[in-house]
Point group: C2
Chain length 240, copies 2
Amino acid sequence: MEWGDSVTNKSVTERDFTVSCNGRSVPGVLWTPEAADSSTPLVLIGHGGSGHKREDHLVGLARRFVRHNGIAAATIDGPVHGDRKPEGIDDESIEERRRRFIGERVTDSMVEDWKATLDALQKLPEIGVGRVGYWGLSMGTMFGLPLVAAEPRIEVAVLGLMGTGVGKSSRLADDAAEVRCPVLFLQQWDDELIPRNASSKLFGAIASEDKRLHANPGLHSAIPREEFHNTQAFLAKHLG
Amino acid sequence: MEWGDSVTNKSVTERDFTVSCNGRSVPGVLWTPEAADSSTPLVLIGHGGSGHKREDHLVGLARRFVRHNGIAAATIDGPVHGDRKPEGIDDESIEERRRRFIGERVTDSMVEDWKATLDALQKLPEIGVGRVGYWGLSMGTMFGLPLVAAEPRIEVAVLGLMGTGVGKSSRLADDAAEVRCPVLFLQQWDDELIPRNASSKLFGAIASEDKRLHANPGLHSAIPREEFHNTQAFLAKHLG
């Protein structure tokens, strides 16, 4: 694990890091309480499609976890996103870009990247082996739900803005049947990208005894501000 | 309108009242801020089946509206409930009791009772013609959704724990198509009384542009405590 500079602002310490995983270099950011001791709870935050590890709303969320809840937070760039975006990819057509995401391999490698990140973070004295939660919507659920299904260290998750595949068998629906931890799932009622039926199905497929659905009006990215508060409170309650 | 004694406790004034409506005597309770002046916002609270106007969780909710939000609250007994329960009815079978509720007439008369109550309350100087919301689950939605559909003075509503009728045409689904105000709808995922499909359908039938669904785990009456907070905040935001 390699570290960038450490910057502390209003009691929140922020550090860039890089983790190696199967030959891949995975760039991330860690936010911790300035005075963290061992066994700080940790939230892994997965960004959405065409986003990156340092998007404004994720940085805000991460800082609020630290300041309000004493919970550390970490993000990593998804495949072909942020600092992992190859040069020239902006010239790709949507069709070409979509092809990069076909198949299980991208999901499996992102699950590996998150696991390697979690392994590395839990070796830090200021994180330690504490409780772990996950927060990720849209592409953050596309990769995050398989992570939650595969990673017993994750005890609670915020997911949503994603559906089962249409028609044929769906990896996400299969993985949802392996998710057992408490889940708060967000759905946008007028989502232009994810058919309402598909997101309802994915929520239905989650096997957790304690699963909650919040459906809100509006398009894919029109999540009401209070859901940031609600999802933060949901994770903090379970990790506290 | 007739009034019982006024009792003030921790800045909340509580009064029993009786309103006359088409020969029926409708008993209710009004909670107001001790120092209310005109145009206080008002929430009408409808109780659930086998409940009454003074159930603990409704009294708590009403008092919190007054103390935290400066919003007045009123409840009335539903037909054949509370002080409107005829003597000897406790000996009735469930089948006999169910028969009392068949047909549109009970719903129509309860809608009339609520309208007469609202008319009377808005003549009080400490209420006046302010903004009005509705909060009612289960039977409180069975009667309350038709009220919200028929009553343009109601600007926002909390509904839920109720579904469309099974098979034939459903009064509630028809009325839902007339509901246009912001709605927060609660659904219990493992509801033993209301099939999940039926409550999803009823939510789907609501015509409001701003409608939100919160689905939570558990049986019909296992609403998580935080939903009392969420529903209060939702109404207060719109009435404030």
